[in-house]
């Protein structure tokens, strides 16, 4: 039995952050599985990490950058061909404003 039970509400919240929906049957199924993985995660609590710096990347490269030289790879037509729905060179999606959650969204930057 998982010690660190994750609640169905938490799983629902996480799924919605990830734009996934879980059916009525899936929710308890995933909740149980994620709970047992979370138990595994809890084992890290027994490691003393005071004064330990996190490692986020292990490449040996530093200051790898590109010069500011513009290149057009001329991929526009191929990109548009792969898109599920296009019109006049634009990618077409269902109306953004229609949905309340998204109507309130603006491009972030």
């Amino acid at each position: 039995m998982p010690k660190n039970e994750i609640s169905e509400d938490q799983v629902k919240h996480v799924a919605s952050l990830a734009n996934l929906s879980l059916s009525k049957d899936q929710l308890p199924y995933f909740t149980k599985q994620l709970g047992s993985v979370m138990d595994l995660f809890e084992t890290l609590n027994s490691v003393n990490t005071d004064d330990v710096k996190p490692t986020y990347s292990i490449t040996d490269q530093v200051n790898a950058m590109r010069d500011d030289i513009p290149q057009n790879w001329n991929e526009k037509q191929a990109l548009l061909r792969n898109a599920p729905d296009v019109k006049d060179g634009l990618i077409r999606v269902p109306e953004i404003m229609q949905n309340r959650k998204n109507r309130d969204r603006e491009s972030e930057d």
């Binding site: 734009n19 595994l40 330990v52």
Partner: protein, 487 residues
Amino acid sequence: MNYLNKNMTGVHKQLMNGDITSEELTKQTLDNIKKTDTKLNAFIDLNDSKALDDSKAVDQKGIDASSLLSGMPIAIKDNILTKDLKTTAASKMLSNFTPIFDATVVKKLAAAGAINVGKTNMDEFAMGSSTEHSVFGPTHNPWNLNKVPGGSSGGSAAAVASGEIIAALGSDTGGSIRQPAAFNGIVGMKPTYGRVSRWGLIAFGSSFDQIGSLTRNVYDNASILNVIAGHDKHDLTSSDKAVPDYTQNIKKGVKGLKIALPEEYLSDGTDKNVKDAILKAAETYKKLGATVEKVSLPHTKYGVAAYYILASSEASSNLQRYDGIRYGYRSKDANNLAELYVKSRSEGFGDEVKRRIMLGTFSLSAGAFDAYFKKAAKVRTLILDDFKKVFDHYDMIMAPTTSTPAFDLGSKTSDPVSMYMNDVLTIPVNMAGLPGMSIPAGFSDGMPIGMQLIGRPFDEGTMYQAGYAFEQNTDFHKHFPKIGGAK
């Protein structure tokens, strides 16, 4: 054409001598795959007509004496982009996706004259250890069709082990080349992080992912790394260190080599037959003039938890781009944008991918970041330091690749934790970005056992040298599976 008894040097000679043309070889390879794969399901897609065209072109130009891969059929894992050839990552999400550019490794192989005959099966988005999480169905282990081939590069491993192909590319984020190599009794190398360009590799865990090859022997493997390694201006994390010729010193032996044997890798969790095989291998190395001493990598047991936090977090972000808008699967019955996102993703991803996305999303979410993501990144530092300490005194580490041989199909699919624990011995290597290679080291009830060699960063040369020496003094690589039944 079946490659069970072959190596690349031999096939190259046949091509050079004109005993066979590349076109004939390619055709026979494709024919054999079509026959054998009805049992294995190692391939998602064959490159039939294009492969034949490419081989004809090589024949016309003439086999390149300086390139072992000239006119040589190979296979490519289906998370590596191939221009104009479907690349699906074994996901419904990309089941209709045709890349418009080649991965850097694919370009390099083509430049060396290799013929890509097809794309191999895998766990969806490389998330899994059994190749059961594929929208195209599981791959079977050629040594026993009821067993898994390991994963996520299970298709590549089964294809090579069964003789369908002489070599295949795989990718390794937490063991996805080495574990299937071990389960299939072949050689699989995950190079140092940054040794091989990731441009064109469908990202899973960006700070872990590396491309490598699965081959029938060590020499072939070194020959392929010679071709695919090197800096790429498209991948800023790829190393600008010079690429040595990995075959140059391969026959030098292991005399004077200081090998470490970490005791945590031979714990009670490790199967007795596996343990015995590794201890026996240690004796072999000693006989060949190396020293083998026990060492400790104390944070090994935390690797799995830390890895599943970090890699899943990176994956959750990497896989957000699959939204049905610009390419890939788009749900047919979405009435608005929110539905388009949710339905395309919920219908397009399989369960294991969803699990990892949710684990990663959770680990990064407000309030969880410090306790999960950052904590795991700190544990990663400790694992890295463990290795550094050992490499202050030793040239290489030897260990089992997996704690058990291949398990039964379906036996772990509903228990993610036990599935995840499968990678306990391979994950630390990815955490530290080190090169790791699995080579055949024995059998347990007819199923292969793999030995893992772990090297210093960018010291693949020493590992090939040690791997070659072991191979030349053992005969595990000379056993072949009888497809359809036990040996």
